[in-house]
């Protein structure tokens, strides 16, 4: 038995492989469920019902997918150029903090002005935060995996300081949270009385823009070349450092937008539990999408389905919603195996 590289990957495989990977992941996660005497079919049925079974469920899933699309894009862009940004979580909070700082009454203007402004400010905050590790990598050769990861904790502590101190809501009855966003700085709801907000549209537009950027522009050409072979890119005259800087800024800005959406579209104010790890889940989303920006939208929806559905199932039959983490993690592994299957053909002899 041996693996042989395929010269060209047939189209049906690129669709079939991820689907097969998900099915396989569900089969594998059934093993611990059976072990724990959980009715597997019922559990999975509840996950689907909880995520897709009603209008409410669907809107919850869409709301959950919104930040995942942004953080997934942040990881996909950076990883394509082999810039390992593990700091989307911190950049998300930086974006949220900047949006709140501007949008909770410090500045008042009509919504047509306020909304674009907080979006821009949030993106800039995320980009500036990512600028630090990128510059450290380029100037001093510091490993960005370490710096981006550790900056997450620095940012969280900084946010904690701000919401316990200078930015604490005076009307908040002592809770560690900021003042609420003013109405003009709130992202409009897409569907009334649900949590789906205009951030979803922004996220999908961002995915299209990133796809075009990576696949159709000279900037994307440089990013892909630098990522795949920096020595050859440099030899061919590409400005490798500038490309890396650009990638870092774009990636940080996308993660910052995730924070803007959560704070201005969903929560309305900033607390320390704004994100249940959207920054880290974004890495999984990007890997599941094989770093393709359009596929990020699909894989973010998948991850959102699993998380929202698992919460519902957990409430219904009492199986811990940690099962969601198990399904997503297993999917990542089976997806890696599937991507191998698309690039190689198994030959028995």
């Amino acid at each position: 038995m041996r693996l042989e590289p395929r010269n060209d990957v047939p189209v049906y495989l690129t669709i079939l492989a991820p689907a097969g990977a998900v099915v396989l992941a569900l089969a594998l996660t059934a093993i611990p469920l059976l072990w724990a005497d959980v009715p597997v079919a019922q559990a999975y049925a509840l996950i689907f019902e909880g995520a897709l079974g009603s209008r409410f469920a669907l809107t919850e899933t869409l709301a959950r997918a919104t930040p995942l699309i942004f953080t997934g894009l942040a990881a996909a862009v950076a990883f394509r150029a082999r810039l390992w940004n593990i700091g989307a979580e911190g950049q998300l909070y930086a974006g949220a903090l900047a949006a709140v700082a501007l949008g909770s009454g410090a500045f008042v203007a009509p919504a047509a002005v306020m909304v674009p402004m907080i979006v821009i400010v949030g993106a800039v905050a995320g980009a500036l935060l990512m600028l630090i590790p990128t510059l450290l990598k380029l100037r001093l050769g510091v490993d960005e995996v370490v710096t981006t990861l550790l900056l997450n904790f620095v940012v969280l502590l900084f946010v904690s300081m701000m919401i316990e101190g200078p930015m604490k809501d005076p009307m908040g009855m002592g809770w560690p949270q900021t003042a609420p966003m003013i109405d003009q700085a709130t992202l409009p709801k897409l569907i009334d009385r649900t949590r789906v907000h205009a951030g979803l549209i922004l996220a999908v537009v961002a995915a299209v823009v990133v796809w075009v950027l990576v696949n159709r522009t000279t900037w994307g050409f440089e990013m892909r070349a630098v990522g795949a072979n920096p020595a050859a890119a440099r030899f061919a005259g590409m400005p490798v450092a500038r490309v890396m800087l650009r990638v870092g800024l774009i990636s940080g800005a996308l993660a910052g937008l995730a924070g803007v959406g959560e704070v201005a579209g969903l929560k309305g104010y900033l607390t320390l539990d704004l994100s249940p790890g959207f920054g880290y889940s974004g890495i999984v989303v990007a890997m599941l999408a094989q770093l393709n920006a359009l596929a990020v939208v699909v894989s973010a929806l998948f991850v959102a389905v699993v998380f929202v559905g698992a919460d519902f199932m957990s409430r219904s039959i009492g199986v811990s919603n940690y099962l969601a983490n198990l399904i997503v993690a297993t999917s990542l592994l089976t997806m890696l195996a599937a991507s191998l299957a698309t690039r190689y053909r198994l030959r028995l002899r």
Partner: protein, 523 residues
């Protein structure tokens, strides 16, 4: 011309029958028969991918053959079946192999490297004494002298190769396989290797000598076996054949000889005066270098690798800067340290390591053809790529430079070495550069591809380019260049007209003897 070689069976030390090895659809070895007699030097000749190395890897136990059988003479001379599948059984059967890339631990002494793996872990000092004794005899008999206590890292390439051979002899090899042994040697070192091999062969050692260089095959071997496409296409005594005939058999079609028509050199395109480039890790890389290149002229740069070629190449490619001296391009001071500036100044650069610096393997052929041109107006409007124009251009280059690939959309890593080099040449030459730096442009390529590269360089010379050709292949330099200079320890000799140079003289200069001394020796 399959002249069967009849030998007494008891004379044979190795007999292969019907060895077949497939990799997927590719038949790397197709029913190969091979006989090797005691004391015989057999040359295994063939192009890249002809199956030479596969065959020897089967013999040495790295691969298992799909079909066929191998018999090796034991110490008493009787042919016994070789159980395949492990280098250890092959070593015990008396087969030693010297790989193209040496397998030495650089921080250990020569002695440690030779005895490594044969040493008992208990009481090593006793083994050491007997090992020294045995090696002294071996060195005496073979004429190879090595300082056994020197750390390998301090030894020259030729010395390292001697250690590899001694390592095989120390394990009582009766068959020695050498894979492209002269690729890294100066001509003089090659001569001394050949002398050693002849001496060992007359002592009863059988040698399989893998090569694609015709001259040395003719010089060293008793018999030549030519492989093509995994099959034996000739098996003949060396005495009855000649270079052009072997080349034709090896390639499967006649190879037109490369002819360099004399040309009057034009204006100066590159002028280096007293240029000094600091080396990495505080080593001096390029010292007081003077070099002028004119249009219609190919300057060959010879030298053992690591003597300053990389620094010169990096300077001209825009990857390094000089700290003093004068560097002029087309009569103006060059702006150094930027590959993009060098490209736009009109320099075509063919990198030494084509996979590392020349292409992005995971990107498509058309994208790789665009690496240096993606910002040009014809291929991009306001940062949006004009993919249609780029693909059309790629198809043109693929046709013009005979790049064999499934199409412009194929990932470049799937191409063979020769076609990757043609792709790079196509990218560089279609810009019609005025100065070309070609660093080892034919390393590892087949004769057909080598000839093609030479023709392209000569055509560019005819079109008015000045060319710097850095090469370790002296035959290549003598064939293609108009003038030749030699690197030794960061210093470049003055250029000499190719007509006044011999391989022997180049070899002496590469080994550091002064030009005057070399001239005297050549006379």
């Amino acid at each position: 011309m399959n002249e069967s070689v009849n030998r007494e069976p008891e004379d044979l030390v190795l007999r292969l029958r019907g060895i077949t090895k497939r990799f997927g659809d590719l038949v790397a070895n197709d029913a190969i028969d091979l006989d090797l007699a005691r004391g015989e030097i057999l040359a295994l000749l063939g192009e890249n991918g002809a199956g030479k190395t596969t065959l020897m890897n089967i013999l040495f136990g790295h691969y298992v053959a799909d079909a066929g059988e191998a018999h090796v003479a034991d110490a008493a001379g009787a042919l016994t079946p070789l159980r395949s599948g492990s280098p250890n059984t092959s070593l015990l059967a008396g087969i030693g192999m010297v790989h193209q890339h040496f397998t030495l631990a650089e921080n250990l002494s020569a002695l440690d490297n030779i005895t490594l793996g044969t040493d008992s872990l208990f009481r090593p000092w006793q083994r050491q004494r007997s090992a020294r004794h045995k090696l002294a005899t071996l060195m005496d008999r073979s004429g190879m002298q090595v300082d056994l206590d020197a750390a390998v890292v301090t030894l020259s390439v030729g010395e390292r190769q001697r250690i590899e051979i001694l390592k095989a002899l120390f394990r009582d090899a009766r068959i020695l396989i050498l894979d492209e042994p002269t690729a890294v040697l100066t001509p003089q070192e090659s001569e001394s290797l050949f002398a050693t091999l002849r001496r060992l062969a007359s002592d009863g050692l059988s040698v399989v000598f893998i090569s694609h260089k015709l001259a040395e095959v003719l010089a060293i071997s008793d018999r030549v076996m030519v492989l093509r496409g995994g099959r034996v296409v000739a098996n003949t005594p060396t005495a009855g054949t000649d270079g052009p005939r072997l080349a034709e058999i090896m390639v499967g079609r006649p190879i037109p000889p490369t002819v360099r028509q004399p040309m009057a050199p034009g204006e100066i395109v590159l002028d280096l005066a007293e240029v000094h480039v600091p080396g990495e890790h505080n080593r001096l890389a390029l010292t007081d270098t003077n070099l002028q290149v004119r249009r219609h002229e190919i300057i060959g740069i010879a030298g053992v690798s690591g003597n300053g070629q990389a620094a010169l190449s990096n300077l001209i490619c825009g990857l390094a800067t000089h700290d003093h001296g004068r560097f002029e391009l087309f009569g103006r001071a060059a702006i150094v340290g930027s590959p993009a500036r060098m490209i736009s100044a009109g320099i075509g650069r063919i990198p030494e390591d084509r996979l590392h610096d020349g292409i992005v393997g995971s990107m498509t052929v058309w994208e790789n053809l665009l690496l240096e041109d993606y910002n040009q107006a014809q291929f991009a409007t306001a940062r949006f790529m004009r993919r249609g124009a780029a693909r059309a251009n790629a198809r043109q280059v693929i046709d013009a430079f005979d790049v064999r690939c499934p199409g412009p959309e194929a990932p470049t890593r799937l191409l063979s070495g020769g076609n990757i080099q043609k792709l790079i040449l196509g990218r560089v030459l279609s810009r019609q550069p005025d100065l070309i730096l070609a660093n080892q442009p034919t390393r590892g390529l087949d004769i057909g591809a080598v000839t093609y590269v030479h023709q392209l360089l000569l055509a560019a010379r005819g079109d008015g380019a000045g060319i710097i050709l850095i090469s370790e292949d002296l035959d290549e330099l003598l064939t293609v260049s108009d003038r030749i200079a030699v690197f030794y320890r960061g210093r470049l000799s003055p250029t000499m007209a190719t007509e006044d140079v011999t391989i022997r003289r180049l070899g002496l200069m590469m080994a550091g003897q002064s030009v005057e001394g070399a001239a005297a020796n050549a006379a």
